[in-house]
């Protein structure tokens, strides 16, 4: 992977992601005020001491945005990575083992998908204790059903190719076939899916927060902030649009990076001829 050859769009994407990550990691040092600190009147306009104004309780919006990056990225990214790990492992397993294993996993997956995701999540989260790692786990497991579907479909296409048969004839083990023969040939599809699913994870987290089962106040997260400040729109206050825009920008930035990675991995000439 040669960074110097990256196109401008990839650089913009990487800059955006880097900014969000810096905010997330160094939030307590960057943020001018505390996460839950009430600093003034509610819904103050932008400018002055509060660059982005204040929110519905009079907290500094910029500080909450910075702290919100922390929660939002941590939860969404971890959930997405975890869902891909689970989904890809199980789907490749299903393809390589075939027969009964494939049937069992696929039907179990169908069963999970038959229940609407949101309702499933609500029921499970209402029963389990409200902790962040449980939230992440529930999101990951629910999302992994989608990854399983796609992973199985693309891996099936590759698994019937002659070169996989050649590897089996050579006597290669299952792990070699999964990681060296199948995975590299499915990576571009899965990467594209990753960019999409990450954006969905942010939205899903926001939905859960909106319904009161996601991130619990006073912890800030971008989706929750949209909800908190939504009443302001009626009075012409932009406070809810800012976290919304942040979600959109982060999703776009991630997809710019993913697009570039995808172009590299989908080139079957090792990306040598790509600009």
């Amino acid at each position: 992977m040669n960074l110097r050859q990256a196109p401008l769009s990839a650089w913009i994407g990487m800059a955006g992601v880097a900014l969000a990550l810096i905010c997330a990691v160094f939030a307590p040092w960057i943020a001018p005020y505390g996460e839950g600190e009430i600093v003034g009147d509610i819904w103050l306009p932008m400018g002055g001491d509060y660059w982005l104004g204040t929110d519905n309780l009079g907290r500094d919006l910029l500080s909450r945005m910075i702290y919100g990056a922390r929660t939002t990225i941590l939860v969404s990214l971890t959930a997405t990575v975890l869902s891909f790990a689970i989904g890809m492992f199980l789907s490749f397993m299903a393809v390589v083992r075939g027969g009964g294993v494939d049937q069992a996993l696929s039907r179990l997956n169908d069963l999970m998908m038959a229940v609407p995701t949101l309702i499933f999540a609500l029921v499970v989260l209402a029963v389990l204790p409200q902790e962040t790692w449980i939230l992440i786990l529930v999101m990951a497991v629910l999302d992994s059903t989608r990854v399983f579907r796609i992973g199985r479909a693309v891996a099936l296409d590759v698994a019937v190719m002659d070169f996989v048969e050649a590897a089996r004839l050579r006597g290669e083990g299952k792990l070699w076939i999964v990681f060296r023969e199948i995975l590299p040939n499915t990576l571009s599809t899965l990467l594209a899916e990753f960019g999409l699913r990450f954006a969905f994870a942010i939205l899903f987290l926001s939905t859960l927060s909106f319904l009161g089962l996601g991130i619990q106040p006073p912890t800030a997260d971008w989706g929750g902030m949209v909800k908190d400040n939504k009443e302001g729109i009626i009075f012409g206050v932009s406070a809810s649009l800012i976290p919304g825009a942040a979600i959109a920008l982060l999703a776009i930035c991630i997809n710019l990076v993913v697009d570039w990675l995808m172009k590299r991995t989908s080139s079957i000439k090792g990306g040598r001829d790509d600009a």
């Binding site: 002659d162 070169f163 050649a166 089996r168 004839l169 006597g171 090792g270 001829d273 790509d274 600009a275």
Partner: protein, 543 residues
């Protein structure tokens, strides 16, 4: 007689988009001219990429995606069809000029009955009434020797065989009574015994309807049977243009001579049959769905020599290779390899058993992981079987690349950066890397152009002389058998109908099937088709 079709200085271009560079125009065809009179057939012949299909489609004033006709004239009855404009062209396509595609199976709509599709264009152009068109379709089905001409049109595409489908497509092209038909490799995808029926049917139909035709193919022997004239093309330029007799019997250009001679190789058969390396005894096999595909197969592969397995598609020859490799364990019988019984199932075989038998796939494209370089592809068996690493491995890869006449410069290329012939060579090197005693070759040359295929066969023969490896060579091509085999087994419907040393198998007296197979292989000779048809009872063609 005035010319029906006259092509003058045709020039066809396309725009190439090399990644990372500015798009540039490439010339696909340049300076091609020919004339075609009514009722005559011109054969266009050349390797893939020679521009023969592009020229054929230009006769319909059509260019495939991105292809532009940028110069010259295509005169149909004296009028330039390139200047007709969109609507004018639509008038002649499917009515005056028709097209028969290579793969009829892909060209028919599977959801509509054949009869409906055959007369569709005719009705669209308002050439005949529905009743007339249906009547003509039945007449054409009869001329083309299709079974039950009256009811044939009521079948769906999946209910008829590949050869019948190809003839139905010819009927579709003939139906509007066109002045010109473009045949684009109509028999390439068919078995030899089917090909001869289709060839005879096409030839008969052309004679009956007095239509002119362009016949595109890469097989000189086929084109010699149906054409009056031949144009040999290479890289979009005319190499030679003349009558069939002149091209076949007295080719002038160097390239044409190579094409004419390519099929005439004949390898000296080994004087004696050596001891058996692989012995297959009374083997039967069935697929998991219970379908029996191999019945009581017995044959043996002599040490350091080549056994060719010949048969049509569906005869079970590739399945036999799967049984030997262990992908499909036999249901009955047993296989002995180098004096030891061979473990039936792949997963129970030892590493050494796996190493000693290697397989070369038909399509090198799909047989190599597109994400691995040549170094990784050839290097993996070296590491896997012999534990070679680092410099020792690189040295051995270089040695193997030299053996397949490619050289170390190819080490870091990906398969997508290799030509078809080079890919197959790398596949051979991968098999050789395991130092096998037996290599199963599953039609390794059938997807290649004749001259490239010849190079691969020469390489295989040379490697056998150097390394004393044995081959099981699966093919449907009798010419390849003559070029490479020491002994031959003929397969038909899952049984071995004839086997033994080549000289014995390929000389009379024959059994019925071998006779049919041998007589169906087109020979590069004018009038061969007529001669064969006289001696052979044509069951499906109603002469």
């Amino acid at each position: 007689m005035p010319e029906l079709l006259s092509v003058r200085n045709l020039r066809i271009e396309a725009t190439a988009y090399p990644p990372g560079e500015a798009p540039r125009d490439v010339t696909l065809v340049e300076g091609v001219s020919f004339d075609l009179e009514k009722g005559r057939v011109l054969g266009l012949i050349g390797e893939s990429g020679a521009g023969k299909s592009t020229i054929g489609l230009a006769a319909l004033a059509y260019g495939r995606g991105g292809v532009r006709i940028t110069g010259g004239e295509v005169l149909l009855n004296g009028a330039d069809i390139l200047k007709l404009g969109r609507n004018g062209v639509r008038e002649i396509r499917g009515s005056k000029v028709c097209y028969v595609a290579q793969s009829a199976a892909a060209a028919f709509n599977p959801a509509l009955r054949l009869g409906e599709q055959v007369i569709e264009a005719t009705l669209q152009h308002g050439i005949m009434s529905r009743a007339e068109a249906e009547e003509r379709a039945i007449y054409l089905f009869r001329v083309l020797g299709l079974p039950d001409p009256e009811t044939f049109g009521r079948r769906f595409p999946h209910q008829v065989s590949g050869g019948q489908l190809q003839r139905a497509m010819t009927a579709m092209a003939l139906c509007p009574n066109p002045e010109l038909i473009v045949f684009d490799e109509p028999t390439t995808a068919l078995d030899v015994t089917t090909q001869i029926d289709v060839l005879a049917a096409i030839k008969h139909a052309i004679e009956q309807t007095k239509t002119a035709a362009l016949y595109i193919t890469h097989d000189l022997a086929v084109v010699a049977q149906v054409s009056d004239d031949i144009m040999v093309l290479r890289q979009g330029r005319t190499v030679e243009y003349g009558s069939v007799r002149q091209i076949i019997e007295a080719p002038r250009a160097e390239y044409t001579r190579a094409l004419v001679n390519v099929r005439k190789r004949n390898r000296e058969q080994a004087a004696e049959q050596s001891g058996s390396l692989l012995k297959v005894e009374n083997v039967s096999a069935r697929y998991p769905n219970g379908l029996n595909v191999l019945h009581d197969i017995s044959l043996h592969v002599p040490e350091g020599q080549t056994l060719a397995i010949v048969g049509e598609s569906g005869s079970g020859k590739s399945t036999l290779a799967r049984v030997i490799t262990g992908l499909l364990p036999p249901s009955e019988g047993h296989i002995t390899f180098a004096g030891q019984p061979l473990t039936p199932a792949l997963r129970n075989r030892s590493k050494d058993e796996l190493r000693r038998i290697q397989l070369i796939h038909q399509m090198a494209d799909t047989a190599m992981n597109p994400r691995q370089t040549v170094r990784e592809i050839i290097g993996r068996p070296l590491t896997f079987y012999f534990g070679l690493r680092g410099a020792a491995k690189d040295a051995r890869i270089r040695e193997l690349l030299d053996q397949i006449e490619m050289g170390g410069g190819f080490m870091d290329r990906y398969p997508a950066e290799l030509s078809g012939g080079q890919k197959q060579r790398v596949a051979i090197a991968r098999a050789l890397a395991a130092k096998p005693e037996l290599i199963l070759c599953d039609e390794p040359t059938s997807a290649l152009d004749p001259l490239v295929a010849q190079g691969i066969l020469d390489l295989l023969v040379r490697l056998q002389e150097e390394t004393a490896v044995s081959y099981v060579f699966i093919t449907h091509d009798i010419d390849i058998v003559r070029a490479i085999a020491d002994s031959v087994a003929v397969m038909h419907q899952g049984r071995v109908v004839r086997s033994g040393p080549r000289s014995k198998v390929l000389s009379p007296p024959f059994d019925d099937y071998t006779d049919l197979l041998l007589k169906s292989v087109p020979e590069m000779e004018v009038g061969w088709l007529e001669r064969v048809l006289e001696t052979r009872r044509m069951e499906s063609v109603g002469h």
